[in-house]
Symmetry: C2
Subunit: 309 residues, 2 copies
């Protein structure tokens, strides 16, 4: 039992009100894999340049992470630099160097083609389609995207959506994709585009999941000190998809628990720069925060019906 | 057993993408009372002009609403006119005519002075203090405010906060009052200002409650068609405070249920213009939506610990 992620690996330079990190490991595949590995082994499909530092690779070396699908190409690794606003709700990209990522054409080796559970991280929908075309028996495919593709490759994105089981996007993207400003209506509109499940990431407000029969909301775990929000969405994806794939069956019960684990894992990422917060997490802390979400949301209406006049 | 609200009554002219309503009953006291009356009798303390229409007064006539504290003064009733943005998340005030509300000095008649459970709606903190000074045995006092007072009468507001048990405000107000951008930190900062409980209204994201020992989040009930958000916050206050006062004891259990009823009642208000949606609500629908919130938030982590590697 294992899952695969096809996404980016890169070196991020991040400035937030809490400080600055220079050329640290980043990319959707890194955050996703480091979160999902707590639940299930993960194979990474990505590309790095010949300059990819041993330290960055070392952060991904773990018995539950298969790095054999990481292609090393002559040239420089993808780099991104951004600066966050004071409240960290917005960020400005100062620099994007695609480098070897510009020529990325994911080729899955034979064993990877047999994977049934795959996360298509936020990359060009044309590449997402090429990955899908290589899978022999796709069963549980989760897809992420962003405004850039919603505007620039809408047709290709809509084609992909017909072939994925779950779409994971944030509120702004859901609005732009569907034209609906009410979030639960946007989520239901997504279900008409192909996916049977839509998961909407809401940042500090948590996330919610919409399927035909289920509408489940989960708050974010409150964090004492938010240091760097980079990668929180991909970390959510890792916790959500790792837990869901590990539970094997897709039911209302497993979907609810998977969303909770997504929110829990994301909370570790924002506590430090890059993958540092996520990388040091231990099992007991994950369980403790999942219990915390339960405490934050549980209530009883026993005997309250009699309160009503 | 009964509660009192001291707030505004007025005639609102409201334009939203869904249409327009002209000079309909509005004001914090109206929304609060029409929500809270489902749980407990409510006495209103407010002022209207001699032009207050019989139809508006009629909307408040109910066996559980005591209107004897509504002062009728010579002159015109408070009027407000506003227009909402396309997504209804922001609104522009086109006109505010304070009229008789400008001279409002709440005077509680003797029976009202014995009330222990009082909602001080969003009015000048100087008036809120005058109300508090008239109460013989205040027990459960809930206070609302707005940016206008946070900036313009900060000192007077801070004095009031030392004397109220629960502060209810929205996210933007919480940020401006405390200077904290993380909401749960803003809520905890409020607890250092006097209140033992802070309730933060988050609009389409629901609400959360923070006390010394409890952090409880509740999502908004998803609404098919949002017609007019006016009064949703005061309706939340009515559902929350009505249920809490009715349960008599302030415990983690009663606070959780009260927040749920606050979110439930607010969902009826946004479904139609002014108080129309709220005024026609029946008991079974309230119970159905409270169950719906339970369905939206419940999850089980049974056996999920074994998922973790």
């Amino acid at each position: 039992m294992a899952i695969a992620v096809v996404g980016s690996l890169g070196l991020d330079t991040i400035q937030t009100p809490a400080g600055r990190a220079v050329e640290v490991l980043g990319g959707s595949a890194a955050y996703f894999a480091l979160a999902a590995r707590h639940f299930i082994p993960v194979s990474l499909v990505a590309v790095v340049g010949s300059d990819f530092p041993a330290e960055a690779r070392g952060a991904l070396e773990h018995p539950d992470l298969d790095l054999s699908g990481i292609e090393v190409r002559d040239g420089k690794t993808f780099r991104w630099e951004g600066v966050y606003s004071k409240d960290m709700n917005t960020r400005e990209t100062l620099r994007t160097e695609l480098n070897v990522f510009e020529e990325f054409r994911p080729r899955l080796h034979d064993r990877l083609r047999s994977f049934t559970d795959v996360f298509l991280a936020n990359i060009d929908p044309v590449l997402q389609r090429e990955v899908l075309d290589q899978l022999k028996h796709p069963r549980l495919v989760l897809c992420d995207t962003m405004n850039y593709w919603i505007h620039g490759k809408r047709k290709e994105l809509l084609e992909i959506l017909k072939r994925v089981r779950i779409l994971l996007i944030n509120e702004e993207e859901a609005r732009e994709l569907t034209g609906e400003s009410l979030m639960h209506k946007a989520a239901r509109a997504i279900l008409t585009l192909g996916p049977e499940i839509a998961v909407i990431k809401q940042g500090e407000h948590g996330a919610f999941l919409q399927s035909r029969d289920l509408y489940f909301t989960c708050p974010a775990v409150p964090i004492e000190s938010v240091i760097d929000p980079t990668g929180a969405g991909d970390t959510f994806a890792g916790g959500f998809f790792g837990a869901l794939a590990r539970m094997e069956r897709v039911t209302d019960r497993t979907l609810r628990a998977a969303v909770v684990y997504g929110c829990v894992m994301a909370s570790f990422t924002v506590e430090d720069f890059g993958v540092l917060g996520l990388a040091r997490v231990q099992r007991p802390e994950i369980l403790r925060r999942a219990d915390q979400v339960m405490e934050m949301t549980r209530f009883s209406l026993d005997n309250t019906a009699r309160l009503l006049r």
